[in-house]
């Protein structure tokens, strides 16, 4: 009889050292088995590309209900959102959420975002040295999302800390989660009380309230939609833009390829997302006993999706540790896949493509100092990235 019990590992996914540099852990788990049980996190992690992609598609077996986060409080708080529901309820919630966020809704924004990104990059190239996370990776998404939702005043100032906290609290009940719950609560409170008049006329946020007033979306949903835009869309985009800057600084030959052939911009972003996905881990729950590549996950067990482990699986990508913009890994796992695939990926692409395009036109090489990383639960982002010198194009 074959033993279908997954191997057990004493790795803690949320150990400080693991969150700062998860790559050796991902490789060890991936080589151990496609499914590994981690008692420290009470979760069965999926470690290889095929198992992850199949699970993301199979929402009937790998449910999002009461499952996304690694502590019961956050799963309770997310109940009733599209993030934490399954079809058919999910289908309607998702449609409401994406109505103003889908690529077709965002087409009109491209020129504005391109102009903002180019102006920022131009200013930084002229400056010559700067802290790239604040000056570019945080500056652009905060401005884009603030304008999109129509934020003014206090809310705008709070977007960064609220967005970070909303991701941190998805982790287990460790110190980071405990410290961030009050901040995530501020965001929730603000979104529960915000009214149309608080948001700029003509903004998408104002449009969501107009839709609620018309009866196009259920009563009291506008605030929750804005909550999801902010909770999911700020921290992850900041991480991705920071990763673009760091990876092009580390691989000037790859920046040169994009400079020679600007049609590589989307491929380059796909490779950045494959190489360094902005999210560390995300949860699901098995609705029944299920076997993944011959290893059994019991019904009701929590399942952890390791995006980075799958994105570096040599069974799927040749030479996965090489950063190669021409690879164009269109099927990377960083945005998830299937019914819960990142709802904001269209906006993320607009922002990231604008940054890569501006860098490729204006920069030949970036000389950077050591990147600073701090432990975080879910978002994997550079904290500080000093650019010491810009060699302009």
């Amino acid at each position: 009889m074959t033993d279908s019990t997954p191997p057990v590992s004493d790795i803690d996914l949320f150990d400080d050292a693991v969150t700062v540099d998860p790559w050796p852990t991902y490789a060890a788990l991936r080589e151990l088995a496609p499914v590994v049980y981690l008692p420290a996190n009470d979760t069965y992690v999926l470690t290889r590309y095929e198992g992850i992609r199949n699970a993301l598609l199979d929402w009937e077996t790998f449910s999002s209900v009461n499952a996304i986060g690694f502590n019961p409080m956050v799963n309770e708080a997310l109940t009733g959102t599209s993030l934490a529901s399954d079809p058919p309820v999910h289908t309607q919630l998702r449609a409401t959420l994406t109505e103003n966020l889908s690529p077709r809704a965002l087409r009109g924004l491209k020129a504005t975002i391109d102009t903002k990104a180019d102006a920022l990059v131009e200013q930084l190239v002229n400056k010559g040295s700067f802290e790239a996370m604040d000056a570019l990776a945080r500056a652009l998404p905060l401005e884009v999302v603030a304008d999109l939702i129509g934020f003014t005043g206090d809310a705008r100032d709070n977007m960064l800390r609220w967005g970070q906290a909303a991701m941190q609290v998805i982790g287990p009940m460790n110190q980071r989660t405990a410290e961030n719950f009050p901040i995530a609560g501020e965001l929730y409170g603000w979104c529960s009380n915000v009214t149309a008049e608080d948001l700029q006329p003509g903004s998408v946020g104002r449009g969501i309230f107009d839709a609620e007033a018309r009866g196009d979306i259920p009563p009291h949903t506008a605030g929750h939609i804005i909550h999801q835009y902010l909770g999911a869309g700020v921290d992850s985009t900041i991480a991705s833009i920071g990763n673009i800057i760091a990876l092009f600084a580390a691989h000037p030959d790859q920046l040169a390829l994009v400079r020679e052939d600007p049609s590589l911009v989307p491929a380059a972003f796909n490779e950045v997302l494959r190489y360094w996905p902005p999210l560390h881990v995300w949860g699901r729950r098995a609705t029944k006993d299920v076997e993944v590549e011959g290893l059994r996950i019991p019904a009701e067990a929590h399942v952890g999706i390791l995006f980075g482990a799958g994105n570096h699986d040599p069974r799927h990508y040749d030479d996965p540790e090489a950063f190669l913009v021409e690879r164009n890994p269109v099927d990377h796992l960083a945005f998830g896949y299937g019914p819960h695939g990142c709802a904001g990926q269209g906006l993320a692409r607009l922002e990231a493509h604008a940054v890569i395009d501006a860098l490729a036109r204006r920069v030949e090489r970036l000389v950077v100092g050591p990147e600073v990383r701090i432990p975080t639960n879910i978002t994997r982002s550079i904290e500080q990235l000093p650019v010491l010198e810009v060699v302009p194009a």
Binding site: L57, T91, A95, T98, S102, P103, R104, A105, R107, V330, D331, F335, Y337, G338, P339, G341, C342, Q345, G346
Partner: protein, 65 residues
């Protein structure tokens, strides 16, 4: 082979159009139009593009029947 679109799931990301521009396109409203649903097995290049379009859809709104 036949390309099948789950219209409720499609959000108009448009990555399929880049993979198979001769088989499908986004119209002026950003809605996906399948220009060719049937792809002959005798046309392996088109079949490969159809499979590529299915593969790249980020929300799994396309499949091959």
């Amino acid at each position: 082979m036949r390309i099948v679109l789950d219209r409720e799931r499609c959000e108009g990301h448009g990555l399929c159009e880049e993979a198979a521009p001769d088989l499908m396109h986004l119209d002026d409203d950003g809605e996906l139009v399948l220009d060719r649903e049937e792809v002959s097995d005798d046309d392996p290049a088109a079949a490969a593009r159809a499979n590529g379009a299915v593969r790249v859809c980020p929300v799994a709104a396309l499949r091959i029947a």
